[in-house]
Symmetry: C2
């Protein structure tokens, strides 16, 4: 059994409220009393019960972050930066995983309603629809979305300026000679859709040949005679697509343009460009918005963070 204020009160022969005050450095308690209480407390290894404190204060100083898993840098990096940054601001970041499972995701949201944290950062999956969020949004619970946006409007989101970033990426590929674009970004979530749209727009505006494809879709024969750029959300996909469809017969030149990571084997590529997201700024911005929300400001908006850099790997 843990030591409680009550125990200390009996031992020190003072009221429990005096104990409480002494331990919280209330200047009103006499130095001598305070000293006695503090020594006894450390002697017995007293440690406050946070659940009890939270009950009276109405806050936990905990913030949750709800992510799918940790293998993807898009989820992992913001989490790590947020943890550091929030600790400096007096909050604890607690990471929870939903493993791409809708039931688990909703379960975690319901925990938030049960007031386990003062707010939460969420990297959602598109398909987990709005109803689960409603109680939280109606209750004005501080929620900041990162990277992806949920299906409904009017919620605070911090994400990369994907339209601009995609434009830059394609421009580089074109400058390196690409005259045919295979766009593999798909439409799995709001970010994917934004990138696909932007890529399409770029190609159309600049009169560049392109096709939207995915990993199980062979490219039209056209690419054989062209300098092809593979545009993907992760270099892994470019590598896989190349292995699956482009190696034999090898096209003249293949360029990879991806976000965050290069293909694991870059040797078959002519050029490799990587748009590196600025996860630190994303985290910092999300933390600031969260604190505003906790402070009572209502700030629904989408904040876009520019790419950290556009690297040429090869």
């Amino acid at each position: 059994m843990a030591v409680t204020l009550k125990n200390l009160a009996e031992i020190c022969n003072v009221d429990i409220s005096t104990i409480s005050r002494a331990l919280r450095n209330d200047p009103r308690v006499r130095a001598a009393t305070c000293a006695l209480i503090r020594t006894k407390a450390t002697e017995l290894g007293y440690t406050p019960n946070l659940a009890a404190r939270n009950l009276v204060s109405g806050k936990t100083l905990n913030l949750w972050m709800i992510v799918s898993e940790l293998n993807n840098p898009v989820e992992r990096e913001p989490a790590q930066f947020l943890s550091r940054s929030l600790r400096r601001k007096g909050y604890e970041l607690l990471l929870t995983l939903y493993h791409s499972d809708a039931r688990t995701f909703n379960h975690l949201l319901s925990r938030l309603s049960q007031q386990v944290a003062d707010g939460a950062f969420i990297i959602p999956s598109l398909e987990y629809s709005a109803p689960a969020y409603l109680p939280l949004l109606n209750g004005n619970f501080p929620l900041v979305f990162i990277d992806r946006q949920p299906v409904f409007e009017n919620c605070t989101t911090v994400t990369t300026a994907n339209q601009a970033a995609t434009g830059e990426l394609l421009r580089q590929c074109a400058a390196a000679g690409a005259d045919y674009f295979i766009i593999l970004t798909g439409n799995g979530d709001s970010v994917a859709r934004m990138r696909s749209e932007s890529a399409l727009k770029f190609c159309t505006e600049n009169n560049l040949a392109f096709t939207m494809a995915n990993l199980s879709q062979a490219p039209p024969p056209e690419f054989l005679t062209k300098t092809t750029a593979l545009i993907s959300s992760s270099g892994i996909f470019a590598g896989k697509y190349l292995d699956a469809f482009l190696r034999q017969p090898a096209p003249r030149r293949v360029i990879s343009g991806s976000f965050d990571s290069a293909p694991s084997d870059i040797s078959p590529f002519y050029r490799v460009f990587v748009g590196v997201q600025d996860f630190e700024s994303i985290a910092e911005t999300a933390a600031d918005l969260m604190l505003e929300k906790i402070g009572g400001k209502n700030n629904p908006q989408t904040v876009e963070i520019p790419l950290k850099k556009l690297r040429r790997i090869k």
Copy 2:
């Protein structure tokens, strides 16, 4: 303001205790009363306050996992498996990071003393010494260590059978022709030390030439005439060591023997072996031990999990 039992009691014109019972499916409350209460509750979006519940139950159904960061699979993988596994058993796994910082680590331990969780999994760093653990251990707080062992004895630890695993790894290298071993495993923590010792033992017993080295230590010229095996905790190190010292003049043949990951560029190696740890079994075993502990069993012991497999990558 969140809806409380008190609010519901006023609205439904029954005592707060009846509300509580109805919402927890107590068979004693009349069906009609129960129905009324439940509809009102969902209407108003009632949601129990977990802090209050925890206060009376004395448990949180939360388990913490304290890790340094998430870039290393040795920390990330057990975390992900544990999260899945514990949810099935009715617990929430909350991940917290200490970012290789001793102060943060101790701060997180103190939170545990404040009863924020019913137990904790810890992947420690060697240098963060025993005192911070003492209150927890004395209070018999359920603690399960994963991978690394803290500096003191008598605590429950789940780790890979590193002695056997290292033996296997070196045996493979020797079978592939290695007659000179550069042992890069170091002594950064209990696992590193165990691997280094085991490697040394293996070489000595089998009459194989070897040297203990690190990334800033050139190998003796001997390796030039030998088939050299680089033994490391991660393929990254083997790659770096090769780049730094072995490339020019290139030795006859270099073999890599590492844990969990291969060198990112395997082309300069003659053979590449990887000992793959069984993080799923480690997590499963740790979860079981935790539940035992929470159930009141005192089970200090070190459980060793065999390697999942020994892969030959090249």
